[in-house]
Symmetry: C2
Subunit: 416 residues, 2 copies
C-alpha cells in the first residue's frame, strides 16, 4: 500500500444500490431471491453483470462451465491476475447477500480503482463462479471444484437436474457455454468476500472475519434396524425400538461434537422412520450425520467416538446399526500470506476483526488447493443464511468491500 492511502474507500451507496438492483432478478415476495443456477433469472443477472463489467472497462471471458471472468489489465501483464469474486446464483429461497456481496464488491473495487485512476502491477480478475449453491445441480461449488481439478469438465457438463436437464444443455439454453477451457485462465491468488452465514461476528460485535481455515467435513449415512411390533402389546423390556436407539445416537452425536469443541460441530439433519404409524414401534430408521472440524485429527477422533457409540447402543438395545462415511472433505488451510494481508488491511482501515473458521464450503476453499487463497467474512443478521430473511448492514458490506480492495491492492501491487 505504498502509494494508496488506507483511507481510499469504495462507494458505499453505489455498492448497496448495485446489490439491490440485482436482487430484482428472481426477487421473492418475502424479500429474498430465487435464482437457480443457469435458469432464466441466472441469465438475467449474468447479462446484467457482463454489461456492468464491460461498462467498467473489463474484458469478459466465459469458460466451458459458464464461469465469468472480468479482466482488468495490470501494468505487468506477464503476472498472473489476482482473482476476486464469488457467485451470483442463490438457494431456492435464498437471500440477497450470499455470493452476491462478494461478486458485486469485486465489481465495486474495479469501479473505485477506475475512478481513482489507480493502476495495479499485476492484472486483477473478477469472477462469477457457476453453481456455487448446488441446489439445481449437484455437487455444490462445481465450477470452482472443476477449476481446481477435482472433476473433469465433461463430468460436470453431464450432471443433471431433477428434470433431467444436463449442465451442458442448461449452459447452451442461456448462451453461457464459453469457449475458454476450464482452468486455462491461471490466477495468481484468489480472495472471496462473503457473509459469515453464522452468528460469531455478530455475537462478538466484530466487523471483519479473517478466515484462516475452512472446516473439514465428513458425511455419514446410517441405519438402525430393530423390530417393528405392536405399540400396545409389546412390554417395554422386550422392545427393539429403532427410534429410541436413534434418539440415544442423536444425543451422542451432539455430545461428541461438544467434547471436541469449541470448533467441531455435528448434526443429524435427516431421520426417517421406515413405515411410521402411531401405534407401531419403529422397526427401522435411516439417518444422516454431518460432522465438521477445522482439524483432520479432530474429525478422526469424532469418527472413532461415533462408531463406538453406535456399537455400544446397538449391542445394548439389541438392534443392528450401520454408520458409513459417504463423503470426506479435508479441512482448508488458507494461505498464511494472504490471511495476513486480509488482517493487515482490516487493521489498517481500523475495523474490528477476528480470525474465524468457515463452517460452510465456498469456491475459495476449492481454489485454496491450487492457488494462494483467502476469505473475508462480514456479519449477517442472527447468522441466518440460505433463507429469505438473510440480511446484512450497508456498513458491514462496505467494510468488507474496503478490506477486499486493500487486500487485492496489496497482492497485485500498485503501479508506480
Amino acid at each position: 500500500m505504498t502509494k494508496v492511502a488506507s483511507n481510499l474507500q469504495i462507494d458505499s451507496v453505489r455498492l448497496w444500490d448495485t446489490i439491490h438492483e440485482t436482487a430484482k432478478f428472481g426477487a421473492t415476495p418475502k424479500g429474498g431471491v430465487r435464482r437457480l443456477t443457469l435458469g432464466p433469472e441466472d441469465k438475467q443477472v449474468r447479462d446484467w453483470f457482463r454489461k456492468a463489467c464491460e461498462a467498467t472497462g473489463l474484458e469478459v471471458h466465459v469458460d466451458a462451465l459458464g464461469t465469468m471472468f472480468g479482466l482488468r489489465k495490470g501494468r505487468d501483464m506477464s503476472k498472473a491476475p489476482v482473482g476476486l469474486g464469488s457467485h451470483l446464483d442463490t438457494q431456492p429461497t435464498g437471500g440477497k447477500f450470499d455470493g452476491v456481496l462478494g461478486t458485486l464488491a469485486a465489481l465495486e473495487v474495479v469501479r473505485t480503482l477506475n475512478e481513482a485512476g489507480i493502476e495495479t502491477e499485476a492484472p486483477i480478475c473478477i469472477v462469477n463462479w457457476t453453481n456455487e449453491e448446488g441446489s439445481r445441480f449437484a455437487p455444490a461449488t462445481m465450477a470452482s471444484a472443476a477449476y481446481a481439478g477435482d472433476y473433469t469438465t465433461d463430468y460436470i457438463l453431464s450432471r443433471k437436474d431433477a428434470a433431467g436437464v444436463s449442465v451442458g444443455e442448461a449452459l447452451d439454453g442461456i448462451g453461457y457455454r464459453g469457449t475458454e477451457p476450464v482452468a486455462q485462465r491461471k490466477l495468481g491468488a484468489f480472495v472471496e468476500l462473503h457473509i459469515e452465514q453464522g452468528p460469531l461476528l455478530e455475537a462478538e460485535n466484530k466487523t471483519i472475519g479473517v478466515v484462516d481455515r475452512g472446516q473439514g467435513i465428513t458425511w455419514y449415512d446410517g441405519t438402525i434396524t430393530g423390530f417393528e411390533s405392536h405399540a400396545g402389546t409389546t412390554p417395554m423390556p422386550l422392545r427393539r425400538d429403532a427410534l429410541t436407539a436413534l434418539s440415544e445416537f442423536v444425543l451422542a452425536v451432539e455430545r461428541t461434537a461438544k467434547a471436541h469443541g469449541p470448533n467441531a460441530v455435528s448434526t443429524v439433519g435427516e431421520a426417517v422412520i421406515a413405515a411410521p404409524s402411531r401405534n407401531v414401534i419403529p422397526g427401522e430408521v435411516a439417518f444422516t450425520v454431518d460432522v465438521r472440524s477445522p482439524d483432520t485429527e479432530t474429525l478422526a477422533a469424532i469418527d472413532k467416538d461415533l462408531q463406538a457409540a453406535a456399537v455400544e447402543i446397538a449391542a445394548r438395545r439389541k438392534v443392528a446399526m450401520t454408520l458409513t462415511a459417504i463423503w470426506q472433505k479435508p479441512p482448508t488451510i488458507f494461505n498464511a500470506t494472504l490471511v495476513d494481508a486480509v488482517e493487515h488491511a482490516a487493521e489498517a482501515i481500523g475495523y474490528s476483526h477476528r480470525r474465524i473458521t468457515s463452517g460452510a464450503g465456498h469456491d475459495a476453499c476449492n481454489l485454496a488447493n491450487v492457488v494462494p487463497a483467502a476469505m473475508i467474512f462480514v456479519p449477517c443478521k442472527d447468522g441466518i443464511s440460505h433463507n429469505e430473511l438473510e440480511d446484512a448492514t450497508q456498513a458491514d458490506c462496505t467494510a468488507g468491500a474496503n478490506v477486499l480492495m486493500h487486500t487485492v491492492l496489496a497482492l497485485a501491487g500498485v503501479a508506480s
Copy 2:
C-alpha cells in the same frame, strides 16, 4: 357344566382346516392374508361364512353395518343369546389368525355342540364384526363401537376410504348392508377368543391368557419448534435443534413408561422433520405418542410426567414444544363373573393359564361397555401380529376354542 364333561373337545383338525380354507380369500405370496374390510376378498369370506353358518343350522342376520350374526336357538328363547366371535377382515399385510381364529372357533363350537347333541338354555350367537382393523376405513372396531353406542350408524356409514368410497357404498357394493338396525340384537354376554399379539404367553409358556383388562390408551400429537440453521456455521452452544430436543423427549417417553411399569407402555411411532436436509439443523419436528396402561391413575401420572418433561426440555433447549392429547380411551374392565368363567374353564380342562391385560383394542373391549364381556388369548409366535409372519400352533388354537366352548356353555347353561 353340570351335564357336560369338561373333556368335551372341539374338532382340532376341522378348526385348523377351516382356518386354512378361509386363508385362501386374499392369500398373499408370503403366507399372509390381505382382506380389506368390505372389499372383494371380504365378500368371499363373508359368503363362505354365511354358507357355513347355514349348513350348521344357524339363522344368519346382517345388521345395517354388515355385522353378521349366526343364531343357534336355545331352550329358553326369552333369554338373551350368549355372543361369541371376532372378525374376518385383516390388515393389508395381515396374518391368518388375527380375528379369524375367534370367528371360526365360534363356528367350530357350534359344530361341536351340534354333533354332541347339546342344547343350551340360552341361545348362542356367533358374530363376525365389520371392520375391526380400521385399515381401509377409520375408526378401527367401528361396528362394535357403533353397537356399543359410541357412534351413530349414519356416522359410520359416511366414513370414507382413501379412494373416497363410503362404508355405505362399500356395503352396497358387496351386498352386505343388512336390514337389522345396529344394536337391536341384544346379547346377554360376549366372549372373544384371539391370539395375544404380544409375547407374554409364549415367554412364560402359558397356553391360555385370561384377559381381565384392556389397556386404556392416550394418543398425543406433538411438535417441537427450534430454529433451522446451517449445520456448518452454527456453533453447538447456539443451536436450537428440534431433533436433539425430540431425542431427549423420546427417551423420556420410554423412561416414563418403565417407571410406571410393568404394565404401562409408551411409544413414539411417528417423528417427522419438517424440511430435512443433511446439512441443515432441524428447525421443526412433529411426532406422536401412544401411551397405554390398564389403570386410569397410571395414565394420568404418565401424562403429568410427559408434560413436565416437555416443559423442562423446551426451556433448557430454548425450543417451543406442544404435547396435546388427541384421543383418550379409558381402560376396559372385563366382567368379573365372565373372567372367572374363562379361568375356570381353562383350569377344568387343564390348560396352563395366567391373567393378562389386552394391549390392543378389540371388539370385545367395546362390547364390555354395554354387556358382560370377556376375552381368551392364546400365544402367537414371537408375539408377531399385523404381519404375514403371524403364526400360532394348532394345539394352542384348539385349546383356545375349547376354553371358548366351555365358557359359553357355562354362561348359556346346558338344557336339562
